[in-house]
Symmetry: C2
């Protein structure tokens, strides 16, 4: 079945991997967040796309959760010596990805095509689609001013309270991304940060309407378990933006967009309230520690959607 997953960050990437493991049953397309993209050392870095490339390509450093397993850091040390900013650590293989991507983008290729070529080079069967080929950078409004996403996320370690999120650029969703929504037989919003991973995708003009118009079953998976994000600042961010830091709070953000909302077994008591939002609330174990966990959650979602 044609499955389209919206993803960004760790949780969404892990679920993408779960679906990729089920490749015999799933023709996977991942629409990836590019709001985290940045220029580093003059190169175009797409952290969420890279996490998908490395994870689905079997290269990811699972210990660190980012970058390439066994990577070296020789270039980074040299860049530091030249006085380049060192707060965003880049491995050498990772740097090669940024160099190659930047070369192709400067040559006029779209990020969509560059990503497809890289995925093919890494032997990835799934399609990875950047949500847009245009500039669409997440800006974080804090008490100390408006800062770039990676400044907030990496340089400042997610310490500032988030007062708002907006986007730099006037981007449109890519034709491929919209088509992947339209043609999907199942649409899944991954367990990613709803504000800064899924939000940047949904905020692209046409994306929300495409999602509403899509004929496929649509389900979302909560990134919050027991009021906490497993990783990252989603919980604090929800709270500081006036949302409830819970699966219920996330479900409210997706009301009208999805038919089903999947929350972890730990949050089962919240299911009735979510059901009142006009979506089915389903309970599944959703902590993905191992590859088996990822495949099990993916299979559970297929089952829920009636695609056993």
């Amino acid at each position: 079945m044609k499955l389209t997953l919206l993803a960004g960050g760790t949780g969404g990437t892990k679920l993408a991997h779960g679906f990729a493991i089920l490749a015999e049953r799933v023709e996977l397309t991942v629409i990836a967040n590019v709001g985290d993209d940045m220029e580093l050392h003059g190169l175009h870095v797409s952290p969420d796309v890279d996490a998908l490339l490395y994870t689905l390509g079997g290269l990811i450093d699972t210990e660190r959760g980012w970058g390439v397993r066994g990577d070296t850091f020789t270039a980074h040390a040299m860049l530091e010596r030249f006085g380049a900013p060192a707060w965003f650590t880049v491995g050498d293989a990772d740097l090669a990805t940024h160099v190659e991507r930047t070369k192709r983008l400067r040559g006029g290729d779209r990020l969509t095509d560059v990503t497809a070529a890289m995925a093919a080079a890494l032997g990835i069967r799934a399609r990875i689609l950047p949500a847009t080929d245009e500039r669409h950078r997440t800006l974080i409004e804090t008490d100390e001013g408006v800062i770039d996403f990676q400044d907030y996320f990496v340089r400042l370690g997610q310490r500032p309270e988030v007062r708002g999120v907006r986007f730099d650029g006037d981007a449109r969703a890519s034709a491929e991304a919209l088509e992947a929504i339209r043609d999907a037989e199942l649409i899944v919003i991954g367990p990613s940060n709803p504000i800064v991973s899924i939000g940047p995708i949904l905020e692209l003009p046409g994306m929300r309407d495409a999602l509403i118009a899509a004929g496929a079953p649509k389900l979302a998976v909560s990134p919050i378990i027991g009021g906490r994000a497993l990783k990252g600042p989603a919980d604090r961010m929800l709270a500081s933006l006036g949302h409830e830091s819970s699966s219920l709070g996330v479900a409210r953000l997706y009301a009208g967009l999805v038919d089903r909302f999947v929350l972890d077994t730990a949050d089962a008591p919240l299911a009735p309230a979510i059901g009142e939002l006009g979506m089915a609330a389903d309970v599944l174990p959703s902590v993905m520690r191992t590859d088996a966990d990822r495949a099990a959650l993916a299979a559970g979602l297929l089952a829920l959607a009636g695609a056993t």
Copy 2:
């Protein structure tokens, strides 16, 4: 004393190191060939400038004769995986140099300023001046057509016969390079390939005139010993371009430009013929195997110039 050295490639770089060792007596400026510059993986690579940076910064891989000692090649392997051309091997630290340089150039800095900043970062006291900040690429005319210098030098391993050399671009010498010629108290043309290392510097409009007009003693060191280049294709290139592949052939190319010509002891019999070209011919051991050899040749040149 203010010494200005024209250099490119291995021999010129080694002599630059020799003068740098004599830092208490020599205020060294090196005018570096940039005809070898190329774009690789979308990055600006300046091989001769890098050889100077790495050698004078104490980073050079003396075994290989290029690149950074102890460098890793992780990025190169990844770039190969992405299908990028692999014939020009780039270490990870070396890649960092190209990334940082390219970032600064794209930001509007001149190569002169970028090089000065990098030299400072590496603790280099000598000034390294690219001969020009503008596009000035050596093109090699061969029987198989006109090719880029690095295509000839690295990709094709210097196999094609060289029928001519010309330059892509309409470059002018940098103000700093011309000033370094004008203000020098001693000018040395290093033992570099006269056609593709020194030639690209001399061919810049104004450079030859500046050299002729300069008040300082001017001497050149032969890169040919016993009819052979110690490294590189200078001997074959001289021959295929109709010059004599000898110290005498090189001296003829510099007639009118220098007062003294230094040839290796092995070539002593050629001294009288060189003397007839209107320059003094001096014999010095000029093979630089060790750092001591480099310093000894540098000191010998200072002595010849009367600057003991």
